[in-house]
Symmetry: C2
Subunit: 338 residues, 2 copies
Amino acid sequence: MKRIGKSTLEFETPPCVLSSAAVVGKKEAEGPLGADFDQTFEDTTLQQDSWEKAEAQLQKEAVSLAIDRSGLGKQDMDFIFAGDLLNQCISSTFGLLEFGIPFLGQYGACSTMAQTLFLSAVMVESGAARRAVAVTSSHFCSAERQFRTPLEYGAQRTPTAQWTATASGCAVLAREGEIQVTRGLAGKVVDLGVKDPANMGAAMAPAAAQSIYEFLEDTGASPEEYDGIFTGDLGLVGSRLLCELLEGNGINLSKVHRDCGLMIYDLEKQDVHAGGSGCGCSASVLCGHILKRMRKKELQKILFCATGALMSPTSSQQGENIPGVCHVLELRTRGGHS
Amino acid sequence: MKRIGKSTLEFETPPCVLSSAAVVGKKEAEGPLGADFDQTFEDTTLQQDSWEKAEAQLQKEAVSLAIDRSGLGKQDMDFIFAGDLLNQCISSTFGLLEFGIPFLGQYGACSTMAQTLFLSAVMVESGAARRAVAVTSSHFCSAERQFRTPLEYGAQRTPTAQWTATASGCAVLAREGEIQVTRGLAGKVVDLGVKDPANMGAAMAPAAAQSIYEFLEDTGASPEEYDGIFTGDLGLVGSRLLCELLEGNGINLSKVHRDCGLMIYDLEKQDVHAGGSGCGCSASVLCGHILKRMRKKELQKILFCATGALMSPTSSQQGENIPGVCHVLELRTRGGHS
């Protein structure tokens, strides 16, 4: 691989998506992308006795399915990069325990899917891995009680609040496959002073703007070259801010920008306020919807820009800002337009 | 790089430690390795108004010092791999915010220093980075209130309990330097059913045994080849278990095994019960003590095997086991014995 511009990596022998899977809960199954997910759970407890275990089970199901589809076994996977939103990333630890794959835990908040894909791609291209697994998850009920209030309180949600997706997405990267990871950029942490934990979109938009701007600068690419520039979970508020911030830098993103948080739910009918969020949101939209459309060549060249809000309830209670981060990956279909 | 055996990476153009730094609190400064640390803080609040911010400050100081010593600036660092024990890894986020280095958050509990070094080494050897920064931290007071009880309760500690080090260690990896990272192995998550959160050493020992066993199998190396095989924070209980577990597999580790958790404090005088622990324990012992001895050629070839307990208070309260993980890195002085 080689470095281009200031911060972008170009994969010269691009690692590929060998297989992928997305599993989701009831609400996500009822949304506009419902048919794209590989497995849906009407009962969001997944027959587990805690929400945390239910989320771990989501990750387990996504990884099982993705590995099955690769035509290989878990013993053929050299590394697994996994993370989630729970304290000490326990969905990943407990969900993936029985696979016995060398484990490198990641924490990028809702940017985790892009981060795990980025590192998996580096491992495969460099020869460190023959195959690497990237996975993340989130669960509405485990996230609400950890980050906000237990569901039982029935707290009111603000109009800027987003709905944590109950979902997991997993991709297996390898040397062979139809969809290539061609470039990547790891983002810097950006803090423009947003403090409202019920408005994560606003907190993350500056990071998305900076990473997308740097990527386009480094590569000389224009937004129109892409069939879609997909952010993770900026929602209604953050998406508008992203487009405004980039417009201030002479970049018009509006024609190609989509946000996974706005795609996964029907905002008019599903009462999710400003859209979806959570690691599992962008992970399931990528591994379910986007990669499927790429396999059908309906999309040939895209940017996947998952965004994360790097805060904790403790840091917010201590009056700290909410810093954001965004990692960018360029994906192309083999033989698609350049 | 190439893969050898089942799970080990051999770096063919080994990445090097360009510079490093270790900063610690008062108790660590009073321990047997006190003179090896680069900066010590008598006031463990570091003039911050919360323990979490004090820990973030520790990381900031360690990174500043390590980058200063590299003779380069923060703009010359291509990636920073950072993590800590706090929920959502906020010490890393807030401590490293102002450096503006592309940020990849890691969660490996107390194995984090080995994990960040491993990934930094892959980035440098593969050409993804010219230089990569590996850092982690822990703080006794932030860890106690998050994982156990607030200090104000004055709770009794069990004889198997360990003392979370107030410390941070940072290493800058690059192509040039006196100390090389020659091999690495990312561990699998191992769960032998230990449930006692006041006995982390016992929970992590099986992971250490498995990773060290696999590394020696893959490489054909024997323990005696090393001037030291350093585990992270197994403490008194875990260290004994590690040696017993490996003895059962025909490997005698006793002559070369050292544990950073047993080195950092004087167990007779400092009332730390079974030894030190926390991400910052192995990080500061590596970046302070071990690397200094390697620079003086008192140590020429070592294994650094940081261990992590991948639990959360929630998982323990829900009755789950405490799975462990251990990543192994081989470090050599340039021109040292082979």
